[in-house]
Symmetry: C2
Subunit: 324 residues, 2 copies
Amino acid sequence: MEKPYVLGIDMGGTNTVFGIVDARGTILHSGSIKTGIYPDINDYIDALGKGIEVLLKEIGGSDKIKGIGVGAPNGNYFNGCIEFASNLPWKNRIPLAQLICERLNIPVTLTNDANAAAIGEMTYGVARGMKDFIMITLGTGVGSGIVVGGNLVYGHDGFAGELGHTIIRRHNGRLCGCGREGCLETYTSATGVARTAREYLEIRKDSSLLRQLDPDTITSKDVYDAAIKGDKLAIEIFDFTGAILGEAFADFIAFSSPEAIVLFGGLTKAGDLIMKPIQEAMEKNVLKVFAGKTKLLFSQLKEADAAILGASALGWEAKEVLFE
Amino acid sequence: MEKPYVLGIDMGGTNTVFGIVDARGTILHSGSIKTGIYPDINDYIDALGKGIEVLLKEIGGSDKIKGIGVGAPNGNYFNGCIEFASNLPWKNRIPLAQLICERLNIPVTLTNDANAAAIGEMTYGVARGMKDFIMITLGTGVGSGIVVGGNLVYGHDGFAGELGHTIIRRHNGRLCGCGREGCLETYTSATGVARTAREYLEIRKDSSLLRQLDPDTITSKDVYDAAIKGDKLAIEIFDFTGAILGEAFADFIAFSSPEAIVLFGGLTKAGDLIMKPIQEAMEKNVLKVFAGKTKLLFSQLKEADAAILGASALGWEAKEVLFE
């Protein structure tokens, strides 16, 4: 019997969303539970299982599902476990794929959220047909999923693609949550943009709409709102952020020479405000042999759907596996 | 009829070496011609063809050769052409694979020299059995070949893996031959080490064996000779070079999480003088999730043989192809 659907689960620090998806990338049914309210992983799995069973009834049972794909922070493709995930309630290594598989009796494939986004983009989005591209997610942090020759790069341990933690300012760089200094993420995540705003407001003397706000609670959204009103300081903050991303992308291109770099996440709403300085800095900094070759694209997936779609795309490649 | 051998051609700026290799990596017969003395590519191909035909007679003809692998500066795997190669006598795009194939009637696969070295290491060397590793060649320049999931990373245009041209010093970095500033190669190639020596001798006042030499003609070999005699300044030059490589490797690991980084080329003769500072800086700078996971290895291939072996390894995957 043919299995026409996949199931995608996206586990975030706050919410876990899930949905049943067909081969065209249409989400047929979806639901969500809170992630952070279950100190015991077994209670979380049980709540998740119950939520999913409601959806399975709608389509006539689990026999219609080819596989489950899960995107989760620090999810490891090779062993199906979550490890080192600082913003989740469970501190130990969690065999997430195995637990979900045992609960629902459907094959499960796990990876981290940025890798899931890359697979989603390749399956349903702007990277369809591309064999070599890099997905960069600009959210609270900066994540990445790297596709080489049509396959996601997992590395020898399943943790490859931490481009948000490459060093873009090597001396006196900003302190990062990872304990090191100068990571790309500290400058170009939504949090990084807010940090830049606070720095600019302190160092600079020129007027800005941003001066009406409490610097301690300023967000990248505030900077965006000011920038589209023509606020010079806010526009310069996007220029600064874009320039740093473009510099970093020039180095990423020297690594895997992708056909495109696809941007996803909250910051991409800034459109040309962020895209133009990225493009300019990327072309200015890239090695001559790569000049003008790598496209810079925004994801075409709706942000609300992308998490489920990205995770679900992994479900198409889910196989019956034995967990360690 | 089974074809037991491959033929490797390594084209350098000065010499082109070639040899017939068996499945165990033994070079049965080899030869060489000068590269730079043929302003017309057809004369070069003719001389190369004649040199190779001498070897083919020794093994009983070209029917015994499964394929020819060629490593050449800026060699493009996808189209079999050399492009942008600044240290070769031919300025246009040269369809090298096609020309050699037509001359000898054996399938030809071309790639750049660092990629060939990586394939050689995977086929006959220290990276046997590895699916994910990065080869770094420390010679006149710094080259790289990246292997992901058992396959070489070519990128969408065939030019991926230019890690010598990632930026390691972003502001006031050394001017590079590529026209940009701060490339890894300007610090960690043999030329870069000599450059560091000249800088140290000018800025510093302490005594050193290196002060007996003409700074303008100092080489990385001179620095090595002084360092093994215990010269403090020379040892510090290796510490500086190794630290920069280690910082760069920490970022490379964030990209593809390789099982190993394999070092090859003249500078590796410095042994622990260069290996220890690399290891130290790499572990100090690497993201926690990768700490202690990536091995740092020296190539086990003899330098005299490695060029031919690396190129020849490509010959095993050579197929009958149509050139554009």
